[in-house]
Symmetry: C2
Subunit: 211 residues, 2 copies
């Protein structure tokens, strides 16, 4: 079953991403360096070359293996979905029902096989300060920043709005997938969109000091 | 420093609770049996005598050490506050601003020294299925049941309303005390009461399918 150099020197086929899997040890060293840097310095303050230096490789190799910095971040956190694809789906159709769509998109991912990895990440973030910092950076820079950037909001309110959305989404994840509190644990997406959607709608676009 | 029989045979003083601390091994055996029974059978389906039988003691001794079943539950979970005292505080003044008062009461407990134990319990519930079951039973039977019982709600809606409240409160706890997502992590009680209070108000007393 040994496959020496599996994939390492294979030319990219049209069905592949175009990035070579590379040497597993080197890949893991880069991912470890990325996790450490993103957790310690934050996503914005971490250039690819700092990750490369910490891993002892050339920056071009990091780009070669993982692509852009946001893709390196996703790989470092083993995030099974691409916010750059999901967030526009939530925002498609304008701000009017963005709360409901956010709930439905969240449930589509977490109810799917990819949700297992998401639950594992949530558990890890609660028990591990480093993962918590990574998750916080991920929420802030990859999800919330994308959502609020397109909603034409007062920039001064954006951080609070984003964090409020995160409280409701994280609590939904906790109760549905970790604590299994009924009836939320087995409620339909329609029920949760109808009940929790308006909350996210208000956090994103409504007045922040009235119901 | 050895204090043989410390407290074991001391008469109760007016400043004490009136319950003797008892033999530490016996107390711990009772608490272990209670945790197991409450997690496996649920709070409602667990009589004190079942806990006593599992611990190999007389039911009277369980009452003697811990009092009523709800006090045994609190002791088993090391819950630092008494829902029987807190919940009426939230409900005092009627249903009109119960959402804001719920946020403020929650923050009073979790921002206090007792909050350390609460955060530890939350962390534990995420990583341990048994603690998760205990926390679920505690939320359902000790907190939510008390809250909704006094709000004159449609009984058919009570479980969903209670669970929705739990999602928002758990997510607030996660982001403020575990993930430390700003600005929620350091927001004032006034800000959180004004922004999250209306959400809890709607989950408790509002229509469940509109903002």
């Amino acid at each position: 079953m040994s496959r020496p150099d599996a994939g390492a020197a294979r030319p990219a086929s049209p069905r592949r991403t175009g990035r070579r899997p590379g040497n597993p040890d080197t890949r893991e060293a880069i991912l470890n360096a990325a996790r450490k840097a993103f957790a310690e310095r934050g996503y914005d303050a971490t250039p690819i070359r700092a990750v490369a230096a910490a891993a002892g490789v050339d920056p071009a190799l990091v780009h070669h293996y993982f692509g852009a910095k946001e893709e390196l971040f996703r790989a470092a956190m083993a995030i099974p979905v691409d916010p750059a694809e999901l967030v526009p789906r939530v925002l498609a159709g304008g701000p009017a029902e963005v709360g409901e769509r956010l709930v439905r998109t969240f449930l589509t991912v977490w109810d799917s096989p990819a949700g297992v990895a998401a639950v594992a990440l949530l558990r890890s973030a609660v028990s591990n300060q480093w993962t918590a910092r990574l998750l916080r950076e991920f929420l802030t820079t990859q999800i919330l920043r994308r959502v609020v950037a397109q909603l034409d909001l007062d920039p001064a309110e954006v951080p609070l709005r984003g964090a409020l959305v995160a409280t409701q989404i994280a609590g939904l994840a906790m109760m549905r997938y970790v604590i299994h509190l009924e009836p939320v644990a087995s409620a339909s997406p329609d029920t949760l969109a109808a009940t929790i959607g308006p909350t996210l709608q208000r956090y994103l676009t409504g007045p922040l000091d009235a119901a």
